[in-house]
Symmetry: C2
Subunit: 380 residues, 2 copies
C-alpha cells in the first residue's frame, strides 16, 4: 500500500477543510453572497500579511502577481534593483527586462542572501534614480531567507519602494508588512496558505499606490487601478476563481485559529528538525546557517549518491514527494518543505523514508540517527 505525502515547497498538502470547500457547489461571483466571501478573504489576507493596506487577489499563479508589481510600479526606462541569488530572484530581472525597465542586478552567491548594506551601497554609487528594489523573502531554490526588516528600514525614508516576493514565505516566516514598512508584498496560494495553486496576492502601500497611478507600462488583466476601482464595489475586475476564494476562507480560518505566531513557530521547528537530522546523517546544508530558511531546507547530496534517483525513488516507490535541485543545483541538493499543512510527524516520516533510501543506496550512517535528532528538536 503506497500512501502519498507532499513535502515540496509548493504546492503543499491540502487540509480536509480546504478539500471540502473546493467541493462545494458553484455560486455566482457577482452576488451579495459572494461579496461577503470576498470581503472575508481580503480581511483574512490582511491578517496574514500583517497590513492595513489594500490586498488584491488575482486569478493567477504567484508570478502573475509579480508581473502586477513590475508593470504597475514602473514605466519603460525606469531603473530598479533586482537581486539574483537563486532561480526566483532572476524572475524579477526577467520581468523588468520584459517591460523595458533597467534592472540593476546585485548578484549574490547562491546559498547567501542580500543585505541592507549591499543595497544601500549599490544605491549610493548610482546617479540614476532607483524607483524600486525587488527582493525575495524565501528563495525556494536555495533555502535562503532574506532579512527584509533591515532592507525595509534602509529604504524607509527614501522614495524607493521595496517589493518583496513572499510567495514561499507568507504565512511561514514572520513578515511585518506595515511595521517594517514594506511597500509591496506578492504571494501565492499554494504554499503557506495551504491551497491549490491559482491565486496570486499583492499588497500595496500608500507610497506604492502613487507609483501605480504614474506608471506608463501597458497592462490590463493585472492593472491595479482596475482592481482598486472594482474593490470599491467589493468586486474584482474580472471573474475570479470562485472555488479557490471559498477555499481560501477555510484555510485562513485555520491559520487564525492556530495563530500566526504559532504557525511561524511550527514551521521553524520543522525546519530545525530537518537541519538537525541532516547534520546527524553527516549531510551538509546548502544554505549558510545564518541565512537558512524556516520554509524550506536544501540539503547537499553526498558524493557517490545519485540525487535525482533519490528524489525519484522516494516519490515513485514510496509516495513521498520532496523536491530535487533546480537549474544549477539539479542533482546536487534535495529540498524538504516545512510550510503549510505539515507537522512534526510528516517530517519524521519523510526522514524515515530518506534514511531508508540512503541506506539502500549504500550511504554509510547510523540508521535512526537522523530521526532521533529531529525528535530531540520536537521535544524541546
Amino acid at each position: 500500500m503506497k500512501k502519498n505525502y507532499l513535502l515540496t515547497p509548493g504546492p503543499t498538502p491540502l487540509p480536509p477543510e480546504v478539500l471540502e470547500a473546493l467541493a462545494k457547489p458553484m455560486i455566482h461571483h457577482r452576488t451579495p453572497q459572494f461579496q461577503a466571501i470576498l470581503k472575508e478573504a481580503v480581511d483574512g489576507l490582511k491578517y496574514v500579511y500583517q497590513t492595513k493596506s489594500d490586498v488584491y487577489i488575482f486569478s493567477s499563479s504567484g508570478t502573475g502577481a509579480m508581473e502586477a508589481a513590475v508593470c504597475n510600479l514602473l514605466s519603460p526606462g525606469d531603473s530598479a534593483i533586482t537581486v539574483e541569488s537563486g532561480k526566483f530572484g532572476e524572475r524579477w530581472t526577467e520581468l523588468c527586462s520584459a517591460y523595458g525597465i533597467k534592472a540593476e542586478v546585485i548578484k549574490v552567491p547562491w546559498g547567501k542572501a542580500v543585505t541592507a548594506t549591499d543595497i544601500k551601497s549599490h544605491i549610493a554609487h548610482r546617479t540614476s534614480h532607483i524607483k524600486a528594489v525587488f527582493v525575495t523573502l524565501c528563495e525556494t531554490s536555495t533555502g535562503v531567507t532574506t532579512d527584509i526588516k533591515s532592507i525595509a528600514n534602509a529604504l524607509k525614508d527614501t522614495d524607493t519602494v521595496l517589493v518583496v516576493d513572499a510567495i514561499s514565505g507568507l504565512g511561514v516566516i514572520d513578515l511585518k508588512t506595515d511595521d517594517w514598512g514594506v511597500d509591496v508584498v506578492v504571494s501565492g496560494s499554494q504554499k503557506g496558505l495551504m491551497l491549490p495553486p491559482g491565486l496570486g496576492f499583492i499588497s500595496v502601500s500608500q507610497k506604492a499606490g502613487k507609483l501605480v497611478n504614474e506608471s506608463k507600462s501597458p497592462r490590463y488583466y493585472f492593472d491595479l487601478r482596475a482592481a482598486k476601482k472594482a474593490w470599491e464595489q467589493t468586486d474584482t475586475p474580472f471573474t475570479t476563481s470562485v472555488s479557490l476564494v471559498v477555499a481560501l476562507n477555510a484555510a485562513l480560518k485555520m491559520i487564525k485559529t492556530e495563530g500566526l505566531e504559532n504557525v511561524f513557530n511550527r514551521c521553524k521547528k520543522m525546519a530545525e528538525a530537518v537541519k538537525a537530522a541532516a547534520k546527524a546523517l553527516g549531510l551538509k546544508l546548502y544554505a549558510e546557517e545564518s541565512y537558512a530558511s524556516n520554509a524550506i531546507t536544501a540539503v547537499c547530496v553526498p558524493s557517490g549518491i545519485d540525487g535525482e534517483k533519490l528524489v525519484k525513488t522516494m516519490r515513485d516507490t514510496y509516495g513521498i514527494t520532496i523536491a530535487g535541485g533546480q537549474a544549477e543545483l539539479k542533482g546536487k541538493v534535495f529540498r524538504v518543505a516545512s510550510m503549510g499543512y505539515l507537522n512534526e510527524f510528516d517530517i519524521i516520516l519523510a526522514l524515515s523514508c530518506l534514511e531508508k533510501i540512503l541506506h539502500q543506496m549504500g550511504y554509510a550512517f547510523q540508521l535512526g540517527s537522523g530521526i532521533k535528532a529531529a525528535q530531540e528538536v520536537f521535544l524541546k
Copy 2:
C-alpha cells in the same frame, strides 16, 4: 427548504464528477504523474476546440487569455479591427488601447452581430494594414451569436488573423476552428466546460504563430513563446492551477462521452425552449431572431415590472440564479443560460420560478403557458 440552482452565463453549475475531482489531494505539478494529466487535458481541449493546433492553458480568467491574444499577436502602433456590439466586444478595444494598438472599432447595434460583409468592407476602405480582427462568438451581454464561419472565410486568404473570444461559446455552439480557418480561439473554464473559473485557454494556428514571434509588445506571464517552450517538455512556464486541470479532465471526459454534437444539440434545445416560453408569456426577446444565441437568451423585462427585483427575488427567495442586464441593459433584460451542466429539467424549473414571480409581480399571462411551450420544444 431553499435549494440553489445556477442558470447564469458563467459560472455554470459543477457536475458531481468535477466536484469530486476538485476535492482530490494535491499532487506536485512537475512530476510525470501531473505531466500525464496535463497531456490528457490538452488533448481533450483540442477535441472541444476541433483543432490540431496547439492549445495552451493559463491560470487566469478568460480575460487573461484575451490579453494573451492581443499582446502576443500585435505590436504597439499596429492596427486591428474590434467589434463592439455588447460589453465583451468592448473588452477587445480596451485591451488594444492598453497595448498601444490602433483599434478600428466597428459598432454594431446591441442585439445584432457583425457580418463578414461589414468586416470586408471596412478593410477595403482602409490603407493601413489590419493585422488582426477580434470578434466575439457569443456576446453574453446581449445573447447574440456571430457567424464566425463566414468571417473566417472572408479572411482566409489574407494575412489578417481572426481572433475569436469563445469564452461563452466553446463547448456550447459549434466552432470548427481548423475547418473554418480560425487562427486564435480564446476561452475560459466556467462556461461550457463546467468548471470553476480560473483557467483560460488559447489555440494558436500556424499563421498566428508567426505573429507571436514578431510581436514587440511587453509580456511575461501571458507570453506564448514561453508557453510553447514549456509545452515541448509537457510543462507550463509557471505553476498551473493543478486542481482545476485535474477537474478539467473530469469535465472533458463527460463531454467526450456525450459527444460534442449532442452537447451542441442539448444547448440548442434548451435555448429554443427558453425562447418559446418567453414568447408564450408575451415577452420580447432582446436579440434579433437570426442572431439569437444557443448559449444564452436575453429576455426583455415587460414594462411595469422591476427587472432587477425579478432577478433578485428568484435568487434570494427561491435560490434560482439567472442573470440581470449589464451596462446599458441593467434592469431592462434578464438572461437565462443554456450551457454547461444543465438539461431540460433545469430549464423547466427556472421557468416555473419565473412564471411564479411574474404572477406575483402582477404581470398578466396564463400560468403554465411558458412551461408548456418549453415542454413542446423538448418533446420534438
